[in-house]
């Protein structure tokens, strides 16, 4: 234990100090650069651009190479940090006044940044440059709107669909899950198909005599504690709203329909035995376990977002199929989320940062990213390029697109959602482990989440 104390107490201080040090040196170097520039005629400016996805980074490098050719006076330096560190890094740099000029923004953190004046209002720039906002999905434009102003142009989006193991379905002679139904009382054809695809050591399926739920070797579907990739979609399909409104402070999941939905998702584990145990689906590892079991061929289908296409397809030794979410009582509903680039309010180069923002949300740049298969473009007319790129790799990704055109819901957007979500996640873990009932879990979760949204700590 010894050194731990020292390490833990010293490291944050050291890193804070070095951070501060970096900030200072950056400052002086950029200002030195600036004075140099104003002396020379070329005026070359270096912008820092921060993002978190290493797969998409490759595509963005290609787009930025073109941008730099078109804007010889701007250089762009990409900084990639994984999601788990990204927000700490960004917020600490904001505190030091040295955040990157441009950075990927997410709806979970956007409200905190915008209400604390960290983001540049883009509305005047949009007007000045005559950007056609109608070219984007309207719901994506609205996500980064605050008090009538826009703080980020949509550059991409994602929806949720079923990933399934084509080879396994063919081997077991089960029809591909391309048009499933789901309802909270019987589970619909989702449960039927999942039962057919669940096999125990002796080759028996759930519901057959002699089936042993403790010796399952292949699971049909996965129920796991992930909101966007899993249960938000089912809640929406049963008419349950998560948050009362954008920038709202009331969580509405604890309705009878909410309880019924979560009960049905728990039934997948504890009643129908078509899902890996709840202990595999808890928050800390649920997403990673779903992906791993699927890649190992032990899981026939699960729900996931299109951002996982690249890592999943590249590690599967079988053919991956993508299917629409099952149709629920209120139809088929997917969470649809989009990222935008935000410009740091204190950037020294707002004009150049805007030029980069405009480029990254332009049809030209989105074309580069879509046709490389990196991400769905925020401009609907270019979506076929992304589908074409994946068709070449043998994966039909159009279900994601179909869902984006159907009924969608947004991720909850409000201040301090991070803490509210954390409270819900923890309570739901206990529900997944069958330690508390859905009724209790929802009640507790909503109470704590409301407390967090009301400004508690």
């Amino acid at each position: 234990m010894k050194l731990k104390k020292k390490i833990l107490s010293v490291i944050p201080a050291v890193s804070l100090l070095t951070l501060a040090g970096c900030g200072v040196s950056n400052d002086t170097s950029t200002s030195a650069l600036k004075s140099q520039e104003s002396a020379s005629t070329s005026h070359v400016v270096t912008l820092r651009y921060m993002l978190w996805d290493p797969n998409e980074e490759i595509g963005y490098k290609k787009s930025i190479a073109v941008f730099e050719k078109l804007h010889p006076n701007i250089k762009v330096q990409i900084e990639q940090y994984p999601w788990s560190q990204y927000w700490q890094k960004l917020q600490t740099e904001m505190a030091a006044g040295t955040a990157p000029d441009l950075f990927w923004d997410h709806v979970t953190y956007f409200p905190t940044f915008v209400t604390n004046g960290q983001l540049l209002n883009l509305t005047p720039y949009i007007k000045q440059s005559h950007v056609n906002l109608k070219q984007y999905y309207p719901n994506l434009v609205k996500q980064y709107e605050y008090q009538g102003n826009i703080y980020g142009l949509p550059k991409d989006w994602d929806t949720i669909a079923i990933f399934y193991n084509k080879d396994l379905f063919a081997k077991d002679h089960v029809a591909p899950p391309t048009n499933l139904t789901w309802n909270p009382s019987t589970g619909g054809t989702l449960v039927k198909t999942a039962e057919q695809m669940t096999v125990d050591k002796n080759g028996k399926h759930p519901g057959q005599p002699g089936f042993n739920p403790n010796q399952i070797v292949q699971y049909g579907f996965m129920s796991y504690n992930s909101n966007q990739s899993f249960y938000y979609n089912f809640l929406a399909e049963n008419g349950v709203q998560v948050l009362n409104k954008q920038f709202g402070t009331q969580v509405l999941m604890d309705t009878p329909q909410g309880v019924q939905t979560m009960q049905s998702l728990m039934n997948l584990i504890y009643k129908y035995h078509v899902s890996p145990p709840g202990s595999e689906g808890t928050l800390a590892n649920g997403g990673a376990n779903a992906q791993r079991l699927f890649e190992q061929g032990k899981l026939a289908m699960y729900t996931d977002g299109d951002w996982d296409l690249t890592p999943v397809v590249s590690s599967c030794k079988f053919h991956v199929g993508i299917a629409l979410l099952p149709v629920g009582p209120k139809g088929r509903v997917s969470v649809m989320n989009g990222l935008s680039d935000a410009i740091y309010a204190k950037t020294k180069f707002p004009k150049q940062a805007w030029e980069l923002e405009e480029w990254l949300a332009s049809p030209q740049s989105e074309k580069i990213l879509a046709s490389g298969g990196y991400v769905w473009p925020g401009i609907p007319s270019e979506a076929p390029l992304f589908a074409k790129a994946w068709a070449k790799k043998g994966v039909d990704v159009t279900p994601f697109l179909t869902e984006s055109k159907g009924k969608t819901i947004s991720f909850p957007i409000t201040q301090n959602w991070g803490q509210a979500e954390n409270a819900i996640d923890k309570e739901f873990d206990l529900m997944w482990l069958n330690k508390v009932s859905p009724q209790q879990a929802l009640q507790q979760a909503v109470q704590q989440a409301d407390g967090a949204l009301a400004g508690g700590q």
């Binding site: 731990k4 904001m94 940044f113």
Partner: protein, 327 residues
């Protein structure tokens, strides 16, 4: 911490070489040069301490003071801090998660310390022999402490996996029921403690080994002549004379246990539910995930006070009647 230990080297002696040069100048302006030499002599220690003083100030004292100041503010790092007086402290008293995390941490310390200390003493006794290859064994037991905690945690996560982990394969192969380990609210904290014990026992063993080797052999010889057995020797000679080591190991390992973070961060993220939500992890969440810096600072101050009290208590009761000089 390097800064603190270097204080020990401040006590330098001035060589004769320096003296002889000053003597030769003294014949010319004896008074002035004497003054100058005195000045230099009294200044030198400060100059030598200065680098580590700066280090201690910059990396320890100033941040620690800053934490105390910040704890009276509401601050999300993005907007200017807001003075709220004792509000954060009052909030903590009404925060069920904070109170629960204190209980969790205390439980964790209790799981860790007794087992870790007893095993470390036993290992030290085993390894305190002159046998061929003993050096290899000693090194092996210290190895876990040398490995990076994050890497260790990732590997143990695989070991603990409830469907494909090594531990469950072992348990079921000898007919024992499977455990859920990190996935169970009751088993997760003991599992985390197990990893920490595995990691730190070898390191603590080193101190006990050094302590054992400092006990004079003649004490054992004398007691043997008096007819005392091994058990009697252990309780009447070894253990009492290991007291200074024991005090040191207990104080430092209790502090370390109260501040457990990295294994929890990697293996459980405080879950399932709040079962491994130890205090330091909660401070991290409040500060760097929810960006309630003032609140996180207030939590840290409370932890500091708790650790201070526990350490004083240990000094009082374990430190009492401790002999440091075995000469």
């Amino acid at each position: 911490m390097g800064g603190v230990s270097s204080h020990a080297h401040v006590d330098l002696k001035y060589g004769d070489g320096g003296m002889s040069t000053t003597i030769s100048t003294r014949t010319v302006h004896s008074d002035k040069s004497l003054m100058r030499e005195k000045m230099a002599r009294s200044l030198a220690p400060y100059l030598l301490v200065f680098p580590s003083f700066v280090g201690v100030m910059a990396f320890m004292l100033i941040p620690a003071l800053a934490v105390i100041v910040i704890s009276f503010f509401k601050w999300n790092m993005l907007s200017p801090p807001n003075y709220v007086g004792l509000h954060n402290y009052v909030d903590i008293l009404h925060d069920p998660i904070a109170l629960h995390s204190i209980v969790t941490t205390a439980y964790y310390v209790l799981l860790n310390i007794p087992l870790q200390t007893v095993v470390a003493i036993m290992l030290a006794l085993l390894l305190n022999r002159r046998l061929p290859g003993m050096g290899i064994f000693r090194a092996l037991f210290v190895l876990p402490w040398l490995a990076a905690p994050v890497a260790i945690s990732v590997v143990w996560q695989w070991v603990f996996d409830p469907t494909s982990g090594v531990f469950d394969a072992l348990l079921s192969s000898i007919g024992l029921p499977r455990l859920q380990w990190l996935a169970s609210p009751t088993e997760a904290l003991p599992a985390v403690a197990l990893v920490n014990i595995w990691q730190w026992t070898g390191y603590n063993m080193l101190f006990f080994l050094a302590g054992l080797q400092g006990i004079p052999k003649y004490l054992y010889e004398a007691s043997e002549l008096d007819g005392s057995g091994k058990v009697r020797q252990f309780f009447s000679i070894t253990l009492p004379l290991l007291r200074p080591t024991l005090l040191f190991v207990l104080v430092t390992s209790v502090i370390g246990s109260f501040q457990v973070f990295d294994t929890v961060y990697v293996m459980t993220q405080g879950g399932p539910g709040t079962s491994t939500n130890v205090y330091n992890f909660y401070i991290f969440q409040q500060g760097f995930q929810f960006f309630h810096m003032g609140y996180a600072a207030a939590l840290s101050v409370i932890l500091f006070v708790v650790i201070l009290l526990v350490t004083l208590f240990q000094m009082r009761f374990v430190g009492k009647r401790t002999t440091y000089d075995l000469g």
